[in-house]
């Protein structure tokens, strides 16, 4: 009886402690954010960026944080980084619209605009699933469908009524579930293997090999977007294997880009 009571108190205190820590961290983040906003308002962009960066490094983030970081970098004419943070802000519901507007403006400011190949339908579908649902949620849907399908299929063995409907219905659900689970794994694979990146320095050569003396594939300029292939890039420290928006592939030093 005493042990039971002690356990309840311990769990209660643990929950209180957890919530208090979370709440304190968020209050601290808001205070730091307010401080950074004040610096931004006074035109002290370097200091504001430094404070925003602290928040980001502590893994406490918000759409507003990324939007303000983008604005700060835009003010100091670092448009590549501005684009990167506006893209981050567009991933948050509360700042998506403002970030899109800012992105349009920043894109128009780059001195070099690049041709963009249209995406394949399959890539669009995968991108949509990745962005709007997420691999984990797709997996959850697949698992629930699988369980329902298996139960219905089992039912046709023991229930006399509508055995054919139950069998076909159960099998259809199981097949659909397996497809959904496969889609979730593919989405996870794609999201782990590929990332979007933005060029944040003035210009750099995209090379055929990850060595500085290698032949040049193309030149990249600030604000260019890339798709980084992490599996290829992991073999070369300090270099990323990227696909440019015009479909060309090449190697670029990691210091030149920021990966979303």
């Amino acid at each position: 009886m005493i042990t039971n009571r002690f356990t309840k108190i311990f769990v209660f205190l643990l929950l209180i402690g957890g919530f208090a820590t979370l709440s304190f961290a968020q209050q601290n983040a808001q205070a730091l954010f307010d401080d950074a906003n004040e610096k931004l308002g006074k035109g002290n962009y370097q200091r504001a960026i430094s404070l925003y960066q602290n928040l980001k490094d502590n893994n406490t983030v918000s759409g507003a944080l990324f939007l303000n970081m983008g604005i700060s970098y835009q003010r100091i004419d670092s448009l590549g980084k501005a684009k990167y943070y506006f893209l981050k802000a567009s991933q948050f519901e509360e700042t998506e619209q403002q970030a899109q507007k800012a992105l349009e403006f920043v894109e128009s400011q780059f001195s070099r605009q690049s041709a963009v190949l249209p995406k394949l339908p399959w890539d669009i579908a995968t991108g949509w699933m990745q962005e709007h649902i997420g691999a984990k949620n797709i997996l959850l849907i697949g698992i629930i469908t699988l369980n329902i399908g298996v139960l219905i299929f089992i039912a046709h063995w023991f229930m006399q009524a509508y055995p054919k409907i139950l069998r076909i219905g159960g099998l259809s659900l199981i097949i659909a579930a397996l497809l959904i689970i496969t889609a979730s794994f593919y989405t996870q694979y794609i999201s782990e293997r590929y990332s979007k990146a933005v060029m944040v320095t003035d210009q750099v050569a995209v090379l055929e090999e990850p060595v500085e003396e290698a032949p040049v594939v193309s030149r990249a300029y600030e604000g260019y977007s890339f798709t980084v292939d992490h599996r290829q890039s992991n073999s070369q420290q300090g270099w990323s294997y990227v696909r440019m928006s015009n479909g060309l592939y090449g190697w670029i030093p990691n210091s030149e880009i920021l990966i979303l």
């Binding site: 035109g43 406490t60 944080l65 604005i71 403006f105 698992i143 699988l146």
Partner: protein, 595 residues
């Protein structure tokens, strides 16, 4: 007016005087003293001339203080002197030479010690000179003398095992026998030194011939040209043959090593094309280093960095100049990369290079100028940067830390007014409350999610169990023998309970009938035998065929016999029946395990 003119002339005269004085004092520091020997390979008993040449601008020169010579004897303490004056590229140079004659006495390699001389009160010292004295009698017996041509060209390198990027001096040397006179020479264009970056060095004056002995034969040699070569890669690199065309004349000359290298034209003059042998240089790779700091410089350098201003307005350009001075592979030096803070607009860097090809080496400076423009006010710091170069003389990398540069940028009022135009970012910062989330640094792999495995395994296990149940039910419905076998124990138990119940009601005979049916029914159900029409003996035989243990068969036989006898003479008690039922239960239980 006249007074002002007078004053002007006075000031002008004073300035000219001061300038002359300062240029004189600068020139004074530009004095060089060099000792040379007319021949560095001499026979025993042969006479050689030791010359001490003082060049530059100076006033008072004392007589050289000669040291003790080990293998040589000084002919006279009184030197002969000569003086010359040259004016090259607007710079005048006076040259003063003391000459002494020495006689070689002992064979072997020896070193002529340094000679000291006082010039304008300051003491200068020459470098020691290596001399090889050959025994005249031994060299006369040499066999290789006939293989060497009368005139040939040779490339001589200062180091045949340099490291990548190291400066090696390559001399193009003409050897010719006494009796030949070389009037002129002309290099054949197109000499290549693949794998090297090459620079021709400037040499003041005309080539001078020296006397030397090769395999016992007296030759004269003259350095015609001099190159600096810088290997650009490691491995064995070949310096291709160098070719010149010489105008040569056979003449009887006196054995005077100090005669001019270029003699006058004679009647038997001819032109000869000479080619040197190729030279292989084994270039050693540089030891591995941190690529971020190494500038690709090999030599002896001084590296510095400066900033044009420490305070500027937004939009104004600031120059950061990195200067590398010294001797070595200056053109191959690359620009160091700096970690510039955000908010700076960076323009294409400018490069400037000055090379000095005199004094048998490539020296000079190379500067890189980064032009940056700050786009926002504030204090900026370009962090300190460590750069390194390789020094072959010290055989190691030398690192230099360039101090950090700090500058402040103020708001530019004109730029602020201009930025208030229509091209503004159409979004304002969010300055109120924000909704915060804490992100996990590493997103979990979906294969590590517990509910994924639970969601997959539970339906699999459930489906397996359900399928097994379905198979059992189907068999119970379709396989009679299986169904009888499965139900046999329950059926027998029911009959035994019924037997006890009937016995309690006083009907012993019927109870024993039920007991018999329980035993025979169990055996027939388990062995899939007909349910009726069999004798007790048939059951016993069937059990024996199955190899059932004898005691068990004996108990069955006893029970069946008892049931048969009591059904004919039912004079027994309920307790007696219960004991038989108990025996039947235990027997059937054992039988169930083996059937």
């Amino acid at each position: 007016m006249r007074k002002i003119g007078k004053l002007f002339y006075t000031v002008g005269f004073f300035l000219v005087f001061v300038l002359l004085g300062s240029s004189f004092s600068w020139a004074q520091s530009n004095v060089s003293v060099e000792a040379s020997l007319s021949q560095t390979t001499v026979y025993t008993g042969e006479r050689v001339s030791l010359s001490i040449e003082i060049s530059g601008s100076f006033n008072n020169v004392s007589r050289p203080e000669l040291p003790q010579f080990e293998n040589f004897r000084l002919l006279s303490n009184n030197p002969s002197t000569s003086r010359s004056y040259s004016y090259i590229n607007g710079q005048s140079t006076v040259s003063y030479t003391y000459s002494y004659y020495l006689i070689a006495q002992k064979k072997g390699d020896s070193q002529l010690p340094a000679v000291s001389i006082s010039i304008d009160g300051k003491t200068y010292t020459t470098d020691p000179i290596q001399v090889n004295v050959i025994d005249r009698n031994e060299s006369a017996t040499s066999e290789n003398s006939s293989e060497r041509p009368d005139i040939f060209l040779k490339l001589e390198v200062s180091d045949d095992q340099p490291v990548t990027g190291q400066q090696i001096i390559t001399d193009v040397i003409l050897y010719f026998r006494d009796g030949l006179e070389v009037n002129s020479y002309q290099p054949v264009p197109g000499w290549k030194a693949e794998g090297f970056w090459k620079e021709e060095l400037e040499n003041s004056g005309r080539p001078r011939a020296e006397s030397t002995v090769l395999d016992g034969i007296r030759y004269r040699k003259a350095r015609l040209l001099q190159f600096s070569l810088f290997p650009t890669k490691s491995g064995e690199l070949e310096i291709s043959p160098y070719k010149i065309v010489v105008a040569v004349r056979s003449a009887r000359s006196g054995n005077d090593p100090f005669s001019s290298f270029f003699s006058g034209f004679g009647s038997n003059q001819r032109e000869v094309e000479l080619s040197s042998d190729p030279i292989t240089v084994d270039v050693q790779p540089l030891s591995p280093t941190d690529g971020a700091t190494y500038l690709g410089a090999v030599g002896d350098f001084d590296i510095s960095r400066s900033i044009s201003t420490n305070n500027a307005l937004v939009g104004e350009s600031i120059e950061i100049e990195t200067r590398v001075r010294g001797s070595g592979n200056i053109p191959l030096i690359s620009k160091p990369n700096y970690d510039l803070p955000d908010g700076l607009e960076i323009y294409e860097p400018q490069e400037n290079m000055r090379l000095n090809r005199r004094n048998s080496t490539i020296s000079g400076s190379k500067s890189f100028t980064d032009v940056i423009i700050a786009r926002s006010p504030g204090n900026y710091t370009i962090p300190a940067k460590t750069v390194s170069y390789y020094n072959p003389a010290r055989d190691r990398y030398i690192s230099t830390t360039l101090e950090s540069l700090t500058f402040s940028i103020d708001e530019n009022p004109e730029a602020m007014a201009a930025s208030e135009g229509p091209g503004q970012l159409p979004v304002s910062p969010i300055t109120g409350l924000a909704s915060w989330i804490t992100v996990s640094p590493e997103p979990a792999d979906i294969l590590e999610i517990w509910w994924f495995w639970a969601g997959v395994l539970i339906p699999l296990i459930t489906a397996g169990a359900a399928y097994w149940r379905k198979l059992y039910t189907d068999r119970m419905q379709t396989d009679t023998a299986f169904a009888r076998s499965v139900k046999a124990a329950d059926k027998a138990q029911q009959r035994l309970q019924k037997a006890i119940q009937v016995s309690e009601e006083g009907n012993i005979k019927q109870a024993y009938n039920l007991l018999q049916k329980a035993v025979t029914g169990f055996i027939s159900d388990r062995l899939n035998m007909p349910e009726a029409g069999l004798s007790n003996q048939d059951y016993i035989e069937a059990l024996k065929e199955k190899g059932i243990e004898e005691n068990l068969v004996k108990n069955i036989r006893m029970l069946l016999d008892k049931c048969a006898s009591i059904s004919y003479a039912p004079n027994t008690t309920h307790a007696y029946l219960k004991s038989h039922v108990g025996l039947a239960e235990s027997t059937l239980e054992k039988l169930q395990k083996v059937l």
